[in-house]
Symmetry: C2
Subunit: 746 residues, 2 copies
């Protein structure tokens, strides 16, 4: 056992390696599945080529960004004692692995789609197996790379800054430097995630809205129809937005959660058998266990008969991985954390005694916090499903309001979206309160880590959706028999539900992660309070609250503009290329792909820069406490706007889908192409950028702004500061609130 204690730190990347090996085996299995006939292969080829074209264009821009940001980071690392230029290397590795995770996912998704279509010719069981294995490859790739990257870098920096400098592995201030440099990894990952999510989100919705507006509404052809010039762009969008974007997103969340918990863990006085760093190692160990049990859970996802429930199969796998991870975590917590109580270093007085009124907690408290995290994640998923599922009150109310026209459909959806913030916020507030109650801010962070532990499984389920969607698209474009399409539709419908619950889970984890990062920031910046009774902090709160609004506005209007360009291009092709409608001429798919690619690359820059630069400006101009106010504002407003937009979009989508089977309004049954259905299509189109561009970007926005703040925190900490910028900063502060001495005598 002693040997295990000593070498546990080296075991962590091994968990990741296991994940990558399993991924490689599964990936090889998918590759060797049949790919169907020439027409299917041609379509799949267009999609794969379009997706790669987007990734190449995106990477080109992002590489400039990474180089510039890396140079700035390296320079800034030289200016304070608690950082180092090495942070730039850490940043670049994070950025690279995040992009690579997205790429891996997308490559397997563009392989799995056509193979799923082919498998659907045989049976539903086989189609599920191919598409879900594709999702699993992505999930294991993302989680495996994250654990290998973070775990290995931690070993290196721990050696460099802690063991080599202090001569022992004590959990001292030297660890602060190691973790600050490690924060660069998370910053790199999350930056790429933001651009990938926003860029991918704009791409997919510009293509989707554009294809729908001309194809479905004007030309009256079905959704996935080879005659529609924008249809390939639409299918590419599913891959670059829902797969690559989401992969980078969850890679970033996963890393940020672990990092925040590690930073808070450093502050804990822990008499453990790991040289006092058990609270730092714990989140990575939990993530490693989660990865292993995700492999177990994934193996349990299978059906036998055509009539078996796909949703049930996914649920069994998901619950197995969560429950097994929770049980294993219990034993790990018991083993790693010390008996007796833990507390923060800052709560000790000069004599080493705990100050009155300080919070102390035990290892059972830590495990209770993890359980709180799991409960919060589960409840958020259930609530999200309620608000977006067919047949439930929210979607039914939108259907009813479609009967009086476009406007009432929109009003209904907006009202449902706003209403849907209530329960998630109450759950989240209770979760914050509860996890804090059991283990302080470390509890809040470890609750998020617990939620994120089975990221590999969550992502497998999430990625399965767009693969099935694409498979259905290929089936329809290749005009395959009804029963094939029926099987892919079945998978697609389940995919829509998992997409909705995945979003609920993602926003909950992002909120807890942001709070953990927020707490880590406060510790590193060396401030005692963030007092919103101070006018400048309150002003920061207002400005922070506004950021998600302008960010959403930029995303939504980018989709609007790009979709209009797409509409004009599709109209032009219908007009100028004779024979498209009779299947005699091939539309110029690549023109539409190019429009989406260019628009998304161009439009992702402004929102990305807002997220990156705002904390830097506010932090250096007004100090860490105002920046804390800004972060609180961004987090609260971002979570609200994220839930509002995602759920409104999801509800509109399913209100529209409900018309496919026919809906009853005031005693009459309405189907597709009825007036109420047309109104529901308007709602769905409005909801598209809400639920797939701006809504899910909120998660990354709030995390990224928190990470940027964490990275610049040592520079804002005046106690630590050695550079001139800080002296200037102090001057500003002293002119600031609570500090104006006009006349001391009365």
């Amino acid at each position: 056992m002693d040997l295990l204690n000593t070498y546990l730190i080296y075991l962590i990347p091994v968990f990741g390696l296991v994940g990558i090996i399993v991924m490689a085996i599964k990936s090889a299995w998918v590759t060797k599945q049949e790919t169907g006939d020439a027409s299917m292969n041609q379509l799949a080829g267009y999609i794969a080529d379009g997706a790669m074209a987007f990734l190449r264009a995106e990477w080109k821009i992002l590489s400039y960004f990474v180089i510039v940001a890396g140079i700035l980071l390296a320079w800034s690392g030289t200016t304070v004692a608690t950082s180092s230029p090495v942070i730039a290397i850490s940043f670049i590795i994070g950025a690279f692995l995040s992009a690579f995770a997205g790429y891996l996912g997308m490559r397997i998704a563009t392989k799995s789609n056509v193979r799923t279509t082919q498998a659907a010719k045989t049976s539903l069981a086989q189609a599920l197996k191919v598409s879900f294995t594709g999702g699993t490859v992505m999930g294991l790739g993302v989680a495996g790379l994250a654990i290998i990257g973070l775990g290995s870098l931690f070993i290196v920096f721990y050696q460099m800054y802690v063991v080599n400098v202090t001569g022992s592995n004590v959990n001292g201030e030297a660890m602060a430097k190691a973790l600050d440099v490690l924060a660069g990894f998370s910053l790199g990952a999350e930056s790429i995630a933001l651009f990938a999510r926003v860029g991918g989100g704009i791409y997919t919705k510009a293509a989707d809205v554009g294809a729908d507006l001309v194809g479905k509404v004007e030309a009256g052809i079905p959704e996935d129809d080879v005659r529609n010039p924008a249809t390939i762009a639409d299918n590419v969008g599913d891959n670059v937005g829902d797969v690559a974007g989401m992969g980078a997103d969850l890679f970033g969340s996963y890393v940020a959660t672990m990092l925040a918990t590690m930073v808070l863990g450093r502050e804990i006085v822990s008499a453990d058998n790991f040289g006092g760093i058990a609270p730092v190692l714990l989140p990575m160990v939990i993530a490693g266990l989660g990865l292993i049990f995700s492999i177990v859970g994934a193996a349990m996802v299978k059906i036998k008969k055509e009539t078996d429930s796909v949703q049930n199969a996914l649920n069994i796998g998901n619950w197995a991985s969560i429950v097994l991870t929770a049980i294993a975590t219990y034993f790990v917590v018991q083993w790693m954390l010390p008996e007796g109580s833990m507390n923060l270093k800052r709560d000790l007085d000069a004599s080493g005694a705990i100050k009155a009124g300080s919070l102390v907690f035990t290892k059972n408290g830590v495990f209770a916090s993890i359980l709180v995290g799991l409960v919060v994640g589960t409840l958020m998923s259930i609530i999200t499903e309620y608000y977006t599922a067919m047949g439930k009150r929210p979607v039914l109310s939108i259907i009813k309001q479609s009967s009086t026209g476009h406007a009432t459909n929109i009003i209904g959806g907006l009202a449902i979206g706003m209403e849907s913030t209530v329960l998630p916020i109450l759950v989240l507030a209770a979760g914050i309160y509860g996890s804090y109650f059991f283990a302080g801010l470390y509890g809040v962070a470890i609750a998020a880590a617990g939620m994120m532990a089975t990221t590999a499984m969550q992502l497998a389920i999430d990625a399965f959706g767009p693969i099935a969607d694409n498979a259905g698209g290929i089936a329809e474009m290749s005009r395959l028999p009804e029963e094939v399409r029926h099987r892919t539709d079945n998978l697609d419908a389940v995919g829509n539900t998992t997409a909705a619950t995945g979003k609920g889970f993602a926003i909950a984890s992002a909120a807890l992660t942001s709070l953990a990062l927020f707490a880590a920031f406060v510790g590193v910046a060396g401030i005692e309070h963030i007092d919103i009774y101070k006018a400048n902090v309150l002003a920061g709160l207002f400005v922070g609250g506004m950021i998600p609004f302008i960010f959403s506005a930029l995303c939504i209007s980018a989709v609007g503009r790009a979709a209009m360009a797409m509409v004009e291009e599709v109209r032009r092709q219908f007009r100028e290329i004779p024979g498209i409608m009779e299947y005699k001429a091939r539309p110029e798919y690549e023109k539409c792909v190019e429009i989406s690619t260019k628009a998304s690359i161009r439009e992702m820059v402004a929102p990305g820069l807002i997220a990156l630069i705002t904390p830097i400006i506010i932090g250096f101009a007004f100090g860490p406490e105002v920046l804390g106010g800004l972060l609180a504002g961004v987090t609260v407003s971002g979570v609200l706007m994220g839930i509002f937009q995602s759920n409104a979009g999801g509800a509109w989508d399913n209100a529209k889908k409900s018309f496919e089977k026919g809906v009853e309004i005031n005693g009459e049954i309405y189907y597709k192409k009825s007036e109420p259905h047309k109104a529901s299509v308007t709602g769905d189109t409005v909801g598209d950028p809400f639920k797939d561009t701006s809504g899910p970007s909120m998660n990354i926005l709030i995390k990224l702004m928190s990470i940027v703040s964490l990275v610049i925190a040592p520079h804002l900490n005046s106690a630590d500061s050695t550079n001139k910028m800080m002296q200037k900063q102090e001057k500003v502060q002293s002119m600031n609130v609570h500090q104006i001495h006009v006349d001391k005598k009365i």
Copy 2:
């Protein structure tokens, strides 16, 4: 001068009395104008009757509420030493005067509308004179009643609790009790304001949306057409929503701003010639001056020729009243406030010296804060106008996006609404920062008081809009000649602009007022910080941020439901009453009036109770600091949602109106009834509840929740507390954060 100093307190209600006398003279003048022919009088009669029917139904419900709340307040007043059961009387008077102010405004509006139509037969100048005089009557009535009410009650309570108890007029702790009891007046006023605004907002938009959906869209008849059964309800709505609702709203704001400044003023150590209470008296004196100069400004609003600009005439009057008030305020500040510096009592140590790091300020600082308030108000109006005016970039972008359908029009409007939060928030943040810089939290409050000083004039301009709108409706329903309609349209168009700028002004004043109330609450509750680094305060911030979302959802869906009921009733009448379309049968207007009345009364209850009860629950269950977090969350989120919804609605409205004169999209000109126009009607309909129900209600929501908190603050202040509830509360607190002692030894 000494005599003036002594009796200044008695002069304050006299300002109000002057306002009421001028109002009576102007009201008599309006009443004696010609009312036109029998048909016009009949229509005006329907409108006036419908409006009174609504008010009676509303008052009935509200009187129950006032009685129950009054009893609770009287009881709670007995439980702490710093309050008194007299607060219930104060509350009832506030509620009564607020309702009465709304009634006065509505009565004059329903008289002025038909008289304006009649005057429009003569000239534009005369029509402006009648409609604007109607508006002035309302403005003076609201401001006059507020000053008389607040000023007189202050005299009474000052005598009762300060002079009679302490035997002198020192500005001591006794004043705290006087102001706490006075806060009941503001609570009464703001409670009625919320119900009036929400109820009126639901009424007017249910009728408007319902009338439009069947009349304009389905039956293809013009907006104000006697054949439409909902048209009278629509015109009644303009009066109960835009006039009575707004009157109660601004009455509440005006009172709340003065009260918050007075509460903060009490805490100032001021060596003035008014026994130390100059900072308490100052906001009422400024309001009195503003009322007098509003009368002067209103007298300057006139045009001579048909071609003169109505907007210019209004601007001249508005600016005259603001500039004159600012100049007079300068002299009043110089006269009333002491030489040398002022500071808060809590910043003195035991020896009477100022603690290090405390904020001190001078009378010039106070005046500078007032100027900051005026600048903020002006900038907010200009920004709001930019985002909602025809011919500017935001509205033009929505017009362009109407060319690709309903969905892109909606996406465009939502994006503009979100984008439009940026500049107002930056202005507001700078305003908070600036006014605090010059005079601390008293500066923030007095900035709001400065902005609100010319409320009488602002309200005259605001109320003129719906009067002109109604006059146009009567002209159209009576099928008067083109030139009459042309004149009323001219006035109506100006009214739309003033409505938009008025909303910008209202949200700015509400934000500053809420912050002032927030600061007053912190002082009265006796807490030092509101630290969002504490998990429970942060949870409060999240819950607070969510309130405006659920509040908006309730308002919007109430409009949606009531509009659907209206649609069904109108369809029924068209179907079952033969001859309506040929002007042979009179529609059953009263049925539609009844639907709107019942729906609005029923639906206003839930949002109103949320605003009233949430702070009470949070305050007593989790303590004042968490309640502070809740208030900050409500204020930030409420301001953002208010701006977003009001501006999106205003922009959609004017995008639709632009089609009346024809708009150019990609080289083609589109008019009414074109496809892009139809898309723009959808946007306008979605925007209706945004801009006239939920958006403007945000102002009252944030103020009301702050006032409720201020009123319960003495009960949450454990130092002061004598009741059992507090002891229980402390128990909860001690189980709370930062307090968990599991084991003190390690």
